[in-house]
């Protein structure tokens, strides 16, 4: 479904991605892990076309996104959804209006259908009846769940998650993981999840990719990554700091 081919990206003079190659199949959940600043979120932004690579190709359903204008990207982005790290809810709109936004933009539903879609989406993320609240009135976990409801309400083919559990307590993190698994089952979406949270990665991922110094360092199943003896993988999975790895 998605192919990243030899992606290079330099931001503010720093080489963030140095030749990323990835193939993501339809219906799979791929988790991208790695240390801070290794290019996980930048990779996600390339998939959505929010950033264009300096070199390389991003293919979505066989179509190369490289060189497409913002207007040409619109029909492609209609098949995608993204959960942003801090929710990115529109603070001038209520929860209900935020969720209705992509549906109203699409313009295919009547107002009654939109209202029932809002109710359904909020119940799915266990926030039933909260549509009139403003984003400023929500906790971090609630914002992420509303953002998840907004990202999924259009039932996209591909859903991108940027650190869905960062900054949340373990209970809320677990509920977000369960939501992702539930969405995966019910809507059969392709998911790409960026996270630091190894527990979450193993729980939701079909495959896990570890980025290191802007390259794919390891790609395998959760079992394979847990049993890997590669020092970089081992240190990351077990959360052990190692000066020699850090300065490599």
């Amino acid at each position: 479904m998605i192919s990243l081919r030899n992606i290079h990206k330099t931001l503010n003079g720093q080489k963030v991605l140095q030749g990323i190659n990835l193939e993501i199949s339809e219906g799979e959940t791929l988790v991208i892990i790695g240390r801070s600043g290794c290019g996980k979120s930048v990779t996600l932004r390339h998939i959505l076309g929010l950033m264009m690579p300096d070199q390389g190709e991003v293919l979505f359903e066989g179509q190369n996104l490289m060189g497409l204008s913002e207007i040409e990207l619109i029909p492609i982005r209609q098949k995608m959804g993204m959960l942003f790290q801090n929710g990115a809810l529109f603070d001038s709109m209520s929860v209900g209006e935020n969720i209705a936004f992509p549906l109203r933009e699409e313009g295919k539903m009547t107002e009654d259908e939109i209202q029932s879609a809002i109710t359904e989406a909020l119940e799915m993320v266990n926030l039933g009846g909260q549509q009139s609240k403003m984003p400023a009135e929500l906790s971090g976990g609630m914002k992420k769940r509303v953002s998840l409801a907004r990202a999924t309400v259009r039932k996209p083919k591909l859903l991108l998650y940027d650190e869905p559990t960062s900054g949340l307590d373990p209970v809320v993190s677990d509920s977000i993981n369960k939501l992702i698994l539930n969405l995966d089952k019910t809507l059969n979406m392709t998911n790409v999840v960026v996270t630091h949270d190894m527990r979450s990665a193993c729980e939701i991922g079909d495959r896990i990719v570890l980025l290191h110094h802007g390259k794919v360092h390891f790609l395998g199943t959760p079992e394979e990554i847990k049993s890997s003896q590669d020092p970089i993988v081992f240190h990351f999975v077990n959360g052990i700091s190692d000066a020699s790895v850090a300065t490599e």
Partner: protein, 260 residues
Amino acid sequence: MIDFLQIVGRNFFRFLKHCGQYALLLIDILRSLRHFSIRWNLVAQQIVFMGVNSLPVVILTGSCIGAVFASQIHLKFSELGMGSGVGPVVAYAMCRELGPIICGLMIAARVGASISTELGSMKTSEQVDALRSMAVYPTDYLVVPRLIALLISMPLLVSFSIFFGIGAGYVISVPVLGVEPAYYINNTLRFTGSQDVGVGLIKSVIFGFVICTICCERGLNCGHGAQGVGKATTEAVVSSTIALLVCNFFITFLLNAWMS
């Protein structure tokens, strides 16, 4: 000396960068107008915020300027025995210069600052990226409605500013300073033509365009965090104010040459 040259060079390149970003935004606006229909509901919301809510400020500043200007002009004109000449001078100045400029400066401060802060905050909190991720063209959603709303609102606001400025000039000149009302009104109507009002309205549209595009550009290209938003807002207000005054200079000469 080298430090001075470095500062000059850095600022020159920053200026060029802003010019480039501004040109790209203008192209984006044209592209958006070509590909998407105008979101009139957002335009209406912005007219309320930019136009209707700005009316008290515009009326107050227009009235104050008209009153003070009439008082100052009367001081000298009465020495020359031309007290009734205050009316046309106030009306002429309000229509051609004071009305549009004072209104433009107030709108740059009130609306321009708000535009750049709002768009800057949206950018730093990834709301602009969220729009793009939901297949919405940010220029179409954020810039075009604001631009159209300000292009509609500015002539109306300037009209109010001119009307209340002339009215305040009358109140100061006639009841307070004792100018003969019949002469005042007659001279005002005789020496103030529709083309004077036209100049003010043409200026108002250009000022609205300048304020909105500069402030949108600064907001959408702001730096990171609260500091980035604050800096963008300051730059937006300063740049749009300077641009407005420079534009006024050239428009005045062009219109005078065209109308003479």
